[in-house]
Symmetry: C2
Subunit: 203 residues, 2 copies
């Protein structure tokens, strides 16, 4: 009759994932400043110093949360890619719209993902598998790569444009009002630049 928990190796069993899950909940509820090791520990039902055995301090926990949040972000992107239509143009635009929508709906997660400094050795590496948001964006950019140019260039152009727009927009830097929806900002107008993506000479 020991089938109460599916796996219980030592004490908690899966504390690491429990802490990450608790951290995401805290982030969604209270924003990036609300996250702390002790609150994660309390929510996971363990002592305040337990997280130190799984992560290297708060930066380590943030890195692990960023990896998980990035997976959520990637799934969101995948759905967004199909939401706008089937053409390459529609697919790319859907991804960009999904980027902004994710930023509005999960600001703290976006802050966590892109607040990561890649030079911080205490972070957990964010994995770039084939279903990652990076790969989804790269695939969506592929039809727009002119012959003879590096595919990364188009990807970086699009990524810079939508990332900058999202960051400025969700923090209210682009307009007078604080946005609650993509339609509150000049999304369509700015994304018109997507039609001119690529590095081929002007005319």
């Amino acid at each position: 009759m020991t089938l109460k928990t599916p796996k219980k190796s030592h004490h908690h069993g899966d504390l690491r994932n429990a802490l990450i899950k608790a951290g995401i909940e805290i982030l969604e509820e209270g924003g990036i400043d609300a996250l702390s090791l002790r609150k994660c520990a309390a929510r996971a039902g363990v002592s305040h110093a337990a997280p130190a055995h799984h992560f290297d301090g708060l930066p380590g926990l943030k890195g692990a949360i960023a990896s998980e949040a990035f997976a959520v972000f990637s799934r969101h992107m995948l759905e967004a890619a199909q939401s706008e239509g089937d053409s390459p143009q529609a697919r790319l635009k859907g991804i960009c719209r999904g980027y902004v929508q994710f930023g509005l709906a999960h600001r703290a997660l976006l802050d966590t993902i892109f607040g990561i400094d890649m030079s911080d050795l205490r972070r957990e590496p964010i994995e770039h598998d084939d279903s990652s948001a990076y790969q989804i964006l790269r695939d969506a950019c592929a039809p727009f790569v002119p012959d003879g140019t590096q595919p990364e260039v188009v990807e970086f152009q699009v990524w810079s444009l939508i990332h900058g727009y999202t960051m400025l927009f969700v923090r209210g830097h682009l307009g007078e009002i604080m946005p609650t929806d993509v339609t509150d900002g000049p999304f369509e107008e700015v994304m018109a630049l997507l039609d001119r993506v690529g590095t081929a000479p002007k005319s």
Copy 2:
């Protein structure tokens, strides 16, 4: 013979500016996480609770520092605008290069400026005068605004592109190595998109 200090109304005289200056020093030395009210107070030579009388908590101090950092940023942009050449294209590109260079040289200041949430009522407002970075960017974009389109659109396109590129680049999200100079990344290739700025139809 009371001309030792230009103005000394009560005790310190100019504590508010002294705290902002101390905060910028701390930011430049230790990054955004190093900033605290108590360290600013200590560096300014006042008691730990003194900042509360000039700013509404840490967000308030960060807002005030952001305003000052934005002025520094604006001066940097003004110089950068003239560094690349006299043509409108060169001017705009110089601004963008200056954006990235400022981000590399003063990361914590950029984090402070653009970490501000405009919905946070505790912040100090960032002033938009005629010499602000926003206005400099707007002026540089003016030659590229097609007839019959709103000037803000081009500005937002350029701003989104360079802001996103800078944020991703300085945190090392765009490449394997951690950048120390603009030439460490695909700046030229991404900025090729600037030649296609504007909202007129494709051909």
